[in-house]
Symmetry: C3
């Protein structure tokens, strides 16, 4: 099974699928091609939340603002999974969870993952690495991995695959305790307008109300506990605090977007 | 085969697919993840129109404004199909058609469908039942149904599955005859801006023109019969009267949205 | 393998998939259902760029402003591929490339493709040929083609399939040399806002700057060579000149949309 993730919209992902299907009969599953454009951190968050629900698979990821520069390409072995994508950190948070390091999921201990650099001196284009570098690499790694659990030494038409200890890392930001408050950050806004923060959900335990940037907000378990149009703080399916509006857009009501700081008084 | 339908946009459906694929190798087919948000009736309409074109399948449906409340979860046997989703009526119009009750498709006679309640006391989250309740249930029901045509007694990690006669029903609204006019309702607006009503198409038979809310409108078989930008009434692929504009948006031209009443003088 | 392409958005493509899966177990791959609405030329461009990356397949294409009129339906044998869709030219540029005529890809020599007309006198609806004509036809042609490399004489529930020399053609427009300038045309704007022209990329070779409609613009290999927000001309993954903005929308910066003429001074 190969999953596909990108910020390409449509129809570019189809070219990647064609290339993959030239080299393997694997099942293809789209994770998303609507990730926020060129937002490596948002994609890293979503992949960390979603890929662990999959059975063993090869995960092809292309959110790649550095395409055309000399940024490297990597494949990462993580438990029973392999991830393939640009060397910009987008794969790391998910890789650490897939490798079983779910509690910490930080860069402190990386015994569980193995990184390979993919040279791509034979690839056709400098502008569409999704199609010309990552798609053929994911297909060939999938075939090799499914056959005998190894990553190949080279990918035909792309280049060599070499183990490496050097790669670009990315840790999603940690919230900071400030007395009886938490200073966190909006990691991503989902399609519903829910502003998903990096603040762990347990801080809301036992609370009926918090103050978000000074404004009193009900802390609830479900949207249905407040009237339509009412803002709220709740714990999303990912386990983090979300700032939402019942049947409305939390990002607009709270005036926040991805990357903004938020202070939650408990 | 398992079909998936929701109002989740992207990327949440991918988590559901991962969970399903942990439990079955079935083919997955997306019906839509762009149903109008939390609009149970619109989803019920689309499912009734589209699912009957599929071969025997398990249909996973999550349009669920009551998630997090104590609304029940149900599975419905309907002919050679099974539907799985929230107990809010969204499955019923499609279930009745799939069970062969295509003519009436109302709640008057339900000998042909069998409803099961899915308890979910073992499910992980209260906010993402699509992933934690409906996805594993659809996967296990699919496996059981494909093997021997039965619905299982319980779903691992979710809860018991019990036959029931009590469920939330939903009949799509019926149009009313008013002399030589029909009072109907816009059920849904599609991506083209076509306003699809509940008025059966046969009322347009033999007519060149109707009056919609007092305005004279050509009644045509195809858009191409009127100039670009011209409004029209026609019979859509679903068999109902649509209010459209040739290469434009019918909803804007007629000033209607889902739920609005329309009066068509014949 | 059957690919699906349309301008239908959601959820209409699902009805096509259901119909296809009633008749075949083939793998289904979406190319796009977000092609610019009723823009035959844009779809023809995208199909020509993307379909050649696929292994041998049947390609179901529905971009069909003439649905409901008496326009014909066609199937085209092209190399190891078959294309099925409306007789409006949308299939031709891709067909010529798939048949191996990649260099010219014009209508001058068509020995390599074989066109069949699909009569559809038995089809159910006059408004949804995607579901009632093209989907069953693609499924049955796929089955026949995969079995013995032939196109069937008739499609059950649709009508006869007959070889023909008459079909609607479509050549994508060619750019014109005007002294040391090229007059081209914007073929399509992609989801990123990149304005893709019909001007071949080699005209930028060795140049640092061009003038587009009189405005000086850097000619670069990658977006990263210019600051964020800066306009640029580059060669896209399709080999043509694109007018772009680094992390912005080229169509808005250059004030162009599909069909507009552009003059590039070299």
């Amino acid at each position: 099974m190969i999953t596909l993730s990108s910020d390409f919209g449509s129809p570019y992902p189809a070219a990647m699928k064609g290339v993959v299907l030239q080299r393997t009969d694997a099942r293809l599953v789209d994770v998303s091609h609507a990730f926020p454009r060129q937002d490596v951190r948002a994609a890293a968050f979503w992949l960390r939340e979603i890929l662990p629900y999959f059975p063993p698979a090869t995960h092809l990821v292309v959110v790649d603002p550095g395409v055309g520069t000399d940024r490297a390409a990597v494949a990462i072995e993580a438990g029973e999974h392999v991830l393939v994508g640009p060397d910009n950190g987008v794969l790391l948070p998910a890789a650490r969870v897939l490798a079983g390091d779910a509690e910490a999921a930080t860069s402190d201990a990386d015994d569980a993952i193995r990184v390979h650099e993919i040279s791509y001196e034979n690839a056709a284009s400098s502008t569409f690495h999704g199609r010309d570098v990552f798609a053929p690499t994911a297909a060939e790694i999938h075939e090799s991995w499914a056959a005998d659990g190894t990553v190949p030494d080279a990918v035909d038409g792309v280049g060599d695959v070499t183990p490496t200890d050097e790669f670009v890392d990315l840790d999603l930001p940690e919230p900071a305790i400030e007395g009886d408050a938490v200073r966190g950050e909006v990691l991503v806004v989902d399609d519903f307008g829910n502003a998903i923060t990096n603040v762990p959900g347990y801080v809301l335990e036992g609370l009926d109300e918090v103050h978000v940037d000074g404004r009193a907000v009900p802390a609830v378990e479900t949207f249905a506990e407040v009237p339509e149009g009412q803002w709220l703080a709740t714990v999303g399916s990912h386990g983090n605090v979300e700032l939402d509006v019942n049947r409305g857009r939390g990002d607009e009501a709270f005036g926040v977007e991805a990357g903004d700081s938020v202070r939650i008084e408990l």
